[in-house]
């Protein structure tokens, strides 16, 4: 009897402590809306997310608590996929434009049009609308866009070698050759691990990616890709680039530390330079990504990607979740201005009003890098491709096979062409382009 009483008391204590721990959760009695985001590289961006999520939780009267969780970048896709497969997905998450339409076709996300005010969408640039819409509905609200490909360089190194920033692929090869010394490589091209997606910037220069509009034929076995493979082959084979990448494509460390004289990178690295390497900032120059013919003004030199917020198709509180998206990304322009400041103006807004506001705010209006992106890169950039990842991956492998396995460029392109045709058949891609 005594024993059973003891067990009962134990159970009650456990129950009470459980209840107590629930009450101690930050959302208390409020409805919890989970919001997942990858940890963006800049600490200032993470601080911005925490600051405004906390602020929203303080001021909102919807009896809702936004639970912001940072998911490790390396495990982002897998964690999100697992949560979706087990029916435990967050109601809100960041997504990138490349994936959103393909995932929308699989029913993963909810259209946002019913949950955000009309003027939020009217504020978007037309090209951003195209990146975020399917069947006339928006599935993602943009936080930012960013060009993928530019050429950053050390002014002092180029000056010392008497080299001007290259504008054509051939000039890029010649400059890499001249700038390579015993202790330094001429250029860091795109590292192997990121080549599949980071090469989109170069592919975009052709005005299209690797499939035709109907997604029923590859567009790879041509002179444009032959030339691109060739310059890549020569720079790698002659070791004017690092044989083993010193850093990921997302990091500007090799250029900032002087291990290379030029580096291909996306716009985001300017934030790293401003925040982490202010002492070399004055020595950093940037130009549009070199093109096949050396013409870089008024033409596409980069792909354009970016991230925004999406709502899970099974979201239980879409109205409240939409309210938060509207607050964070579509409302007060000052909030977004603070975001762009946190990234060192390395990204662009998808909203006209935010851009207009940034043109008048002294700090952003006078930022030379932002001006360069707005005038030279963004207007001509091509939205990133949305077809299955394997196609981009195989393109990168075909490219690498020329200098790693001595496959001739002709054979590499022929094999790639066949492989993409096989994918089209196996995955029944023909006629499934949602943007057509």
């Amino acid at each position: 009897m005594k024993k059973s009483r003891l067990v009962m008391v134990g159970l009650v204590l456990v129950g009470l402590s459980t209840l107590n721990s629930c009450k101690n959760e930050p959302w208390g009695d409020k409805t919890r809306i989970v919001f997942w985001t990858p940890p963006f590289p800049e600490q200032e961006t993470r601080d911005w997310l925490v600051k405004y999520t906390d602020k929203y939780n303080e001021i909102n009267t919807d009896n809702v608590y936004i639970d912001l969780l940072f998911i490790a970048q390396d495990a982002w896709e897998q964690t999100l996929k697992t949560s979706q497969a087990t029916g435990d997905a967050p109601q809100l998450s960041f997504e990138n434009y490349a994936d959103i339409l393909r995932k929308t076709m699989s029913g993963l996300y909810m259209p946002l049009d019913d949950y955000l005010p009309e003027n939020a969408f009217a504020d978007l640039y037309e090209n951003v609308n195209e990146m975020t819409m399917e069947n006339n509905q928006h599935y993602i609200y943009p936080a930012f866009t960013e060009p993928y490909s530019m050429l950053f360089y050390r002014k002092s190194m180029l000056n010392a070698a008497g080299v001007t920033p290259p504008t054509s692929w051939e000039e890029m090869y010649q400059a890499s050759k001249v700038l390579t010394t015993k202790d330094r490589y001429g250029i860091q091209l795109i590292p192997s691990a990121q080549l599949g997606w980071a090469i989109w910037g170069f592919q975009a220069q052709a005005g299209h990616y690797l499939l035709n509009d109907n997604w029923d034929a590859p567009l790879v076995n041509d002179s444009f890709n032959h030339s691109l493979f060739d310059v890549w082959y020569r720079i790698n084979k002659e070791e004017y680039t690092t044989k083993v990448a010193q850093e990921s494509y997302t990091m500007i460390t090799p250029l900032a530390t002087g291990k290379v004289a030029m580096q291909l990178a996306g716009s985001w690295v300017i934030g790293q330079l401003k925040n982490d390497y202010p002492n070399v900032l004055d020595d950093i120059g940037y130009v549009p990504c070199p093109t096949i013919d050396g013409i870089v003004d008024g033409v596409t030199t980069s792909a354009m990607g970016g991230w925004g917020m999406a709502m899970d198709a099974h979201a239980e509180n879409p109205v409240e979740a939409g309210h938060f998206i509207n607050y964070l990304l579509a409302g007060d322009t000052n909030i977004m201005l603070e975001f762009f400041k946190s990234t060192g103006y390395s990204k662009l807004s998808g909203r006209v009003s935010v851009d207009e506001y940034m043109k008048t705010a002294p700090e952003s209006a006078n930022d030379p890098f932002r001006k360069f992106m707005v005038e030279k890169i963004a207007p001509y950039s091509l939205a990133e491709p949305i077809y299955i990842w394997e196609i981009s991956r195989d393109y990168a492998q075909a490219m690498e096979s020329t200098y790693l396995s001595n496959i001739s460029i002709d054979n590499a392109l022929k094999a790639l062409d066949k492989k993409i045709k096989d994918y089209i058949l196996a995955n029944e891609l023909a006629g499934t382009n949602p943007q057509k």
Partner: protein
Amino acid sequence: MTKIKYKSDQVKTAIIALLPSFVLLTTFAIIPIFLSLSSSTLEGNNYMGFKFVGFSNYLKVLTDSNFWKSFLVGFQYVLVIVPIQLVLAFFLASLIIKLKQPLQSIIKVCIYVPCILSGIVVGAIFMYLYEYDAGLINTLLKIFNVDKVAWLADPKTALVAVGIASIWAGLGYVTLVMLGGLLDIPKDYYEAASLDGANIWQKFWHVTLPGIKNVGAYLLISCFVSTFQIFELPFIMTGGGPLDSTMGPIGYIYQHFSYDTTLGFTYASSVLIALFLAVASSLVFKLVNSSRSQE
């Protein structure tokens, strides 16, 4: 054929002893296998609903050249890692037996230490060793005027480089199991063989090898299965590259899991690989059992 009768308390003890394993095996192996089997015949997700597609996911996997390439890489890993690991473990275990305490314990601990390191740590250690511009190996090569080698970025060397890291990480476990097998062989056998005038080679061939046959078979199967499924080290050290030269079957599954919007293909490839490993393992078991019954 006589039927052994067990007492009821013996049966109860057996059930109690087996229950945890049974529950764990059912929860984490048997049920997932059946779930994977049924899911591999479906296409869709929690959002769109599921559609029965029969064997079409299997057909897609089997006609994907990358799947067969990953299979080949799995075999290459087995060829590079398993024989070297088993032979090295045998020699180390033979050496340890001959040592006296406390040297024996020190060597055992030293050999086993890599086993307690996570694959990420092992990968990081070897990445430093293999580093192209300033790694230890290339620095040593430079002393002898040998050109630097891109160990992890060259398709010709990457798999072997990952394999060496794997051998180092797993050697301690294999050696200790092998040591257990060697210690189980009665000393009388060696004494009898000596009296019969057997030399070292004859003792090895007629006493040691049959004596560690079962342990050897266990190690062969477990090393084969774990090596064929190697994932962590290539994931950390090469990401499966260059040119997929280090991406085994599990890396292939992982990639589809990460990038496909539906999971039917991933399930089908998992089932095929599990099926292959089950058949391969049972063949080795059968071989060992039949040879034992002939004795």
